[in-house]
Amino acid sequence: MSSESSVLECRNVTAHYDIGKGIRVRAVDDVELSVKGREILGLAGESGCGKTTLMRTIYRDVSPPLRVVSGSVTIRVKDGEEIDIYKLSDAELRRIRAKVLSYIPQGSMSVMNPTSRVKHQFFEVFRKYGRFKKGEILQQVKGRLQELGLRESILESYPHQLSGGMRQRTVIALATIMNPSVVLADEPTSALDVVYQRGVVEMIQNIRDMFGTSFIIVSHDMGLHNQITDRIAIMYAGKIIEVGKTDGIFSDPLHPYTEGLINSIPRIGGSKKLEGLSGLPPNLANPPPGCRFHPRCPYRMEKCAIEEPPIFRIGDRVVSCWLLEGK
């Protein structure tokens, strides 16, 4: 691994959907991304930009029409050993999941088994790893719930008896019970009311603080990213176009798309007329030449339509935009 402190690293990951008739949707295109230990990394971008496909690619939840064309995803396990997720056998992959790398897909809270009590859903997680004693596990789970500030009584409840916010927190408790190094959470708060969103955010931060877990939080909501993340990666049309520390991204966005996203959100107390961005994201089956954002970019130059911008590094910031050339 290039960086000592990263627990997960994606290198040159490209994934396509081959949807027949020669149509190829380039949902993830040459993505470089790393997550450090104890870090909450945000992945921001609008619907259809490839966020979820990138998560599935990292988790190796890949089935046709999705195909990983190139690149590697490596993860560091507890004893410091590095594993390339795409070099594992199916059995090894199963062992890694939940214990090292956990994935909470969007809408997980609505797909909990409705006929089984929450405690049985915890047992299910352990059952995948061989024999276990229910009594011991129950003690362990109760201890964990207490640490996370959840009531023990939820174990005897059925999912429908819990409120949305509670169900989502239960799902997070389930996904982190084996103490994975990295948790991928896709839109963990988008189905929740604002008040409950805050509860979920606090829980994710607690898990990071207590167990040193790293998270990748996928969300379209820049406000949420500002509350929870340490660093943010912005994705547009299958590409990561800017990565940086959260404070820096919000105070001084360098990519025009990042700037547009942040300026699309009304400030309470502000009275400025907001315009948002004009135009639409490109069709990923036929992306525009050059920079994929150039048709919508207010600062576009001639070069932008011809040549794709490389990645420029400015301090700890990574930006893919011709405006930053030579800076």
Partner: protein, 324 residues
């Protein structure tokens, strides 16, 4: 428009042992008058805001209370007036714009149909002109409307559904979560259209949302709804500047803002209890300032000196400030 004591009770469960559920409980407000305004109803899911909208649209019958539009009681309209007059006055814009259009039909022919049958324009050329003018208002070219809905993006289809809504020249548009399915970078474009229609076409809006940031951006008036009732209602500026009701305070503090981080911890209720059935204030069990009276008697909606109306025992009529 005047809404008085509007209430909707849903019955759940069996015929004999069924429970009553007050989805909307004694809601009153006025809208319109000298100039048009955008009235936002904010609240969490299940607070009754959509039920309220559906009653105003005449899609469901209120259990009690009245809705008066341009001086006419909606409950007393004949069925012909309901299908001909009401749609000329009130138009909806829904959350999922794709549901507003027939997927098999070109959008333009549907808009033309709206002009002839709903707006009642008989002359073909005049109908075409009305449709084109509506498209101009939402900044879309007629070419876009020549396509089928599935060929368009969510943002475009939502603009088209706004164009459809303004064809009959309504006095009021009820927009239920119109931008919640639209990407953030395109939301402002749609909300700006609402502002422009209010100013240029003198259309009133009831904007229903859970999103307080967009509510702040476009509203003149805001009502915060909690479990079927208005907790607080008043000028948007006043409510955001100094929220009075503890629930409004909790909501505003919980907004994931891009310019500020959350501080401290909040107390959130753990399970959904049947608070709709409790006698006192419905927020009592979550309220950090709860008093004895709150659990026994529902607080009335009182007008404070600042002009905001609030339903909370912490405030009284004379001062409009906290009693303690």
């Amino acid at each position: 428009m005047r809404v008085r004591h509007l209430t909707k009770i849903f019955k759940t469960g069996g015929l004999l042992f069924g429970k009553k559920f007050r989805a909307v409980d004694d809601v009153s407000f006025n809208l319109g008058g000298d100039s048009s305004s955008i009235f936002t109803i904010v609240g969490e899911s299940g607070c009754g805001k959509t039920t309220l909208a559906r009653m105003i649209l005449g899609l469901i019958e209120p259990t009690s209370g009245s809705i008066e539009i341009l001086g006419r009681d909606v409950a007393r309209l004949s069925s012909k007036e309901r299908s001909h007059w009401l749609p000329k006055v009130i138009q909806p814009v829904f959350q999922n714009p794709f549901e507003a259009f027939n997927p098999l039909r070109k959008v333009y022919s549907y808009l033309l149909h709206t002009a002839t049958s709903v707006a009642g324009i008989e002359d073909k050329a005049e109908a075409v002109e009305r449709v084109n003018r509506a498209l101009e208002e939402v900044r879309l070219s007629p070419e876009v409307a020549m396509r089928s809905p599935y060929e368009l993006s969510g943002g475009q289809v939502q603009r088209l559904s706004i164009a459809r809504a303004i064809i009959p020249n309504p006095k009021l548009i009820i927009a239920d979560e119109p931008v919640s399915m639209i990407d953030a970078s395109l939301r402002m474009g749609i909300l700006n259209i609402f502002k422009q229609l209010k100013d240029e076409m003198d259309i009133n809006f009831i904007y229903i949302t859970h999103d307080l940031s967009t509510a702040y951006y476009i509203s003149d008036l805001i009502a915060v709804m909690y479990k079927g009732s208005f907790a607080e209602i008043g000028q948007a500026e006043a409510i955001f500047k100094e929220p009075l009701h503890p629930y409004t305070q909790l909501l505003i503090e919980s907004i994931p803002r891009v310019d500020r981080r959350w501080t401290g911890k909040i107390k959130v209720s753990v399970t959904e209890v049947e608070e709709y059935l409790l006698p006192g204030c419905k927020f009592a069990d979550r309220c950090p300032y709860v008093m004895e009276i709150c659990k026994k008697k529902a607080p009335p909606l009182i007008t404070t000196s600042g002009g905001v109306r609030v339903s909370c025992w912490l405030y009284n009529e004379e001062k409009g400030v906290a009693k303690h």
